[in-house]
């Protein structure tokens, strides 16, 4: 299968892929800061005019989501998989379509 070959090709050159991705990230931030490329006239708040504002927003948002959610989960929300299972078992006949 050709597609699997392509994925394998990219995986073999993981370092290069990572470098290219980092270069794209940098490029996006730099282009965003050039007024000739990105017209910020329609921005709604002052903060949006700061260069790289949305990059920081995305990164910090992502980190906050992960850390706060994990913290919340470890308060006792995440629990063992058979938590609900000591119910009175009335096993129906198996009818598996999978």
């Amino acid at each position: 299968m050709k597609l699997a070959k392509l994925i394998e090709f990219l995986r073999d050159r993981l370092k290069t892929v990572i470098w290219i991705s980092c270069a794209v990230l940098a490029l996006v931030v730099v282009l965003d800061a050039i007024p000739a490329v990105v017209d910020k006239e329609h921005a709604h708040t002052a903060a949006e005019h700061w260069p790289g504002f949305w990059a920081v927003f995305g990164f910090v948002g992502c980190v906050l989501i992960i850390i706060l959610s994990k913290w919340y989960g470890h308060l006792g929300i995440m629990t063992r998989e058979d938590y609900y299972e000591d119910e009175p078992a009335a096993a129906p006949k198996e009818r598996n379509h999978e």
Partner: protein, 601 residues
Amino acid sequence: MNSFWLHPSLILILGALALPLVPARLKRGYLLLIPILLFARILTMGYSTSGTVHFLDWTLVFGRVDALSSVFGYIMSLMCILGTLYGLHVKDDAQHIASWFYVAGSIGCIYAGDFLTLFLFWELMAFSSVFLIWFRGRRESLGAGYRYLLVHIAGGVVLLGGIVLHCNAPGHDWSFNLMDVQHPTPAMYLIMAGFILNAAVPPLHAWLPDAYGEATFNGSVFLCAFTTKTAVYALCRGLAGMEILVPLGVIMALYGVVYAVLENDCRRLLAYHIISQVGYMVAGAGLGTQMAINGACAHAFAHILYKGLLFMGCGAVLHMTGQSKFTELGGLWKKMPWTFVFTLIGGLSISAFPLFSGFVSKSMIVSAGFEEHKYWVGFLLLLASAGTFLHTGLKVPYFIWFGKNKPKQETWDRAAEPPWNMNAAMIVASVLCIFIGCYTPYLYKMLPYPDLAAEYHPYTSYHVFETLQILLFTGLGFFLLLKKLVPDPTISLDMDWFYRKGGRAFLWLARKPIQAADTFIGELYRVAGLVPLMLSARVAGMFDNEVIDGMVDGLAESIRGIGRRLRFAQRGQMQQSLAFAFAVAAILIIAFLWYSKALAR
């Protein structure tokens, strides 16, 4: 009925009823034909109000076709084709019948012009969709199905209560139109509660991941499209501009994201992201401006396609490997690379990447928030979209198709690309997701306010760079914190805890204290009641011998006759009895309404 008007749902219902009679070799063609006929019927319906039926005191309107209902009808019938194509190889007729009835219910709600018709189809949806969960056949799915049904029955009763109060108030009739959202009455809050239960707004949302994670592999493809989006339609139609929906929508958008971090089952994760995405639409309905309603409809349209695609991708993994948990999967890119690509397209669409469908729909709602100067709405919804990319665009593909985890040998051996029909459905959905993202007039022309939509341009340099920065840097965060995101084999407690554990507390109450009290009272009766009873019995005995016997004999004979008939009606199946009981209740309520109305005159 003024003239014959073919209700689109009728095509599906009759088609479903005739399905068992179709010979096996024609079945596949037939399965595709009926949804295509439905789609064709919906395309040919011009804007009008038809299908008006006078029933008792009411005027039932089955066919209100206007801009708002057309866009929903269009996408739902399209999704019916895709969903049926996806499950085309399923041999069990009952599954197709259940899903078609379910779609028929949903389309019936969309075109309903009055509250009673809406309610009728609303319940049809609940009662047919539950079978898509039960048919999975696991013990867990049986329980999940019952919980789903009970929650929806409760929601239906609340909705009906609201409808009855609202429509019987002076100055109101039964037609289903925009209500006076500036002055909400208790009845409107009840109606809203019924609607937002189906839209899965926290705290009324726990049924959704519970049920959608447990349904059959193709059942979830149907489920993810219809119930919540019908509710979005109902909110746009009846409660657009209701202030409280804005904060509720924003909370939803973030709530789903938080739970998606914790989730280990890929289909439950997608289910939490339905909550998150429907949050945008609920917020849009709450904002209520023309731009926001356009956005809510556009997003519902795009969402049905990309969420269907995502459930198809994860459903294909489940169907082929028997697994849906991240901890049981990994490294599947070698075995199912095309499924990976399709799922990734779904992931990029839901994350609103430029050139994908979410980009041109989600941004309308965010812009509407900013334009109303509700900056917090805009910023929080953008935060939620970072979370969306984090999970659906990155976590799902990464931990199924890559990741360090090695699945069991048995899972690995089973894994392969799915049958052609599943691939075909995924290809069509993928193409549509990209097409909508690239060629905006296709979607924008269908929206309720097409002129306004034509003036909206999502592809400004600012918007593209804003989105790219948010999403790409979310990706950076994902790979830097990858270790923290490795899924654990756990489940997460949600609002369903209250009724799952609460139900058990109720059973305990019934078993222990209530039974003890019952025994005690029984004993009391025996001691205190026995002596006087014996006395009176002797008197009664004489009376009985003379007078009653004759009457009783006749009565007993007739009761035996009724019992004989009832024995055939009672089939001993809990599901059937429930449906039967509900039908009787519905008839009683309607009879009562009619009677009370007749009395009032």
